[in-house]
Amino acid sequence: MQLVLEKRAERSQTIALISPLIAIGLTIVTMSLLFVILGKNPLAALDAYSIAPLTDSYSLQEIAVKATPLVMIAIGLSLCYLANAWNIGAEGQFLIGAVAGSWIAVKTQGTEAGHWVLPAMLLAGAAAGALYALIPALCRVKFGASEILTSLMLVYVADLLLDYLVRGPWRDPAGFNFPTTAEFDPVATVPVLIEGGRLHLGAIIALLVVAGAFIVLGRTIKGFEIRVVGAAPRAARFGGFNADQLILLTFAVSGALAGLAGIIEVAGPVGHLQPGISPGYGFTAIIVAFLGRLNPVGILIAGLFLALTFIGGEQAQITMKIPLDVTKVFQGILLFYVLACDSLILYRFRLISASRQVHRGAG
């Protein structure tokens, strides 16, 4: 006897729609069990994780702040993944964007530079991210090098470059040697939307990005091309679509979005360049992209949802004294169920008897 995963002949549209709900339901059941084992009231714990953060404007703002870079990066990545190009290095593109934009901020610090500074920084961040993403894309197109590997390796290059700059040339002279630039000038800072809060212009840019991706993918030939090249490369070739060109394009766009997210994060919530500006946004965004099923609206929801688990995790630590590790387990279990449910839409388990297997082996 053997258990195999077999592709389903047809997929149920209804199940596909409610699959995320099933996943969330299973997560709630599993987490409730875990909370009971930990001796916590499961209802109160689930409330702290997922309901309480949604009930006041402060937490809602924080969720948006946390989701902004995740959504922007994930949208770019979804274009790559739809076109069957595997950009794993968004974290590096994020950092390079932050570095390039910060360069302008550092160079204009304390000068009379006017309101052109911030737009220039955002442009520089996006351009640098795009160029940086083109390196693995070109290597793939010209030399057939695996873009998964090269894009990932470039993350460490970007990380170390940032490290070098803030420890050396760009270090704040008044910063007691700590590796950070001085605080950016007001003209080099992303404005906040609500006085006293942390919600910033980046959130609106992220929404525009979502809308843009929605239109491109749903309403344009380019969007159609991306889907076809990804889903049916042979058909795409017959259709005259150039797969290489598309790899370059999707990498450049996703790099630009990651770079833009990077400089927005630095010029917004952080306010200066320092190591550790990203708690792994570039990698978490991969999860967001797939959780959102590579669909712009789905990604927006997934990004907000993941941000909610971060904020909720902190509230659970504060109000329920639930350790941080439980939050990580929570996120892990959720992802597990989502992927499992999605897989079971396309596949099903079947028991195959040993005799049949031997027969098949002989044949």
């Binding site: 050396g168 942390r198 994060e265 952080v270 306010g271 708690p279 904020i311 504060i318 109000t319 350790p323």
Partner: protein, 359 residues
Amino acid sequence: MANRLLAAAAALILSVAVGGTALAADKLKVGFIYLGPIGDLGWTYQHELARQALVKEFGDKIETTYLENVPEGPDAERAIEQLVRAGNKLIFTTSFGYMDPTLKVAKKYPNVHFEHATGYKRDKNMSTYSARWYQGRYIQGQIAAKMSKAGVLGYIGSFPIPEVISGINATMLGAQSINPNIKVKIIWVNTWFDPGKEADAAKALLDQGADIIMQHTDSPAAMQVAEERGKLAFGQDSEMIKFGPKAQLTSILDTWAPYYIARVKAELDGTWKEENTWGGLDSKMFEMAPYTNMPDDVKKLAEDTQAAITAGKLHPFKCPVLGQDGKEVECKGGDHLDDSQILSMNFYVKGVDDKLPGK
């Protein structure tokens, strides 16, 4: 009549409810932001021990909450603000990198008091506190010079900030007082807590000929490497003897409890005010772990030095202090370097064969 009864009942309920909240509000809420996991057995663990000491000391009068593993980036500000919004009135942020986020939140909530460890920015509702660990480093330098056969010390640095650099310098000045030709090799791991990196650094230093490991990072990983290789090492932040029963010479123990208790007491009494506390051996802001794995004469030397520093008779940075280039450093504190010079230390003393990163 019925109306009256209703009103009376409502008044009763109201008074109970109000009384209830008043009772809850009487409890002082104290919050903590931790850099590592509470089980790091080093830096964060020591803060956690102090928090537990607070709970033991004040019992029902306070309620404590902590957030662990908070990165020193954009998330820190939110974490601190979450504690404020949960009603904490006194908040300890326990790492240098929380300085700017703490200041930002402090400006926003003038009625909440903040205590920031090891920083230099203060406000009317934000104090700083730290310990003169360089005093302990000086003692360790003397022990190391006595115990090293190779005459080479291996030093695992975290970040090249003044606190760490003054530690390296104090170590070297202590060591040079015993052996003027002592050498030190430094590896910067650019992290406070990463057991893997710390262990790798320890191995590399031993491979380069060092036979005593010193660290300014938070995990016991380097101690374990020294133990495995049959070499000697100094613990950091906490008692690490169980990771190196044959390796640990001593350890600088961060003992935050007395300070935390004093600050919470001040908050309860309504006498809390902004302060800059920089305590040394005399005020027990830190302590030395028992001197182990060394002959009696070295132990005696260490104890004598400790007593001299505690009594204020010996200052690790007594003038003249020579810079790496051999030139004398300006002496602003009379017969020793001024506190401000130590707090902003950005140079190596003579005999350190290394280039300051980023210089």
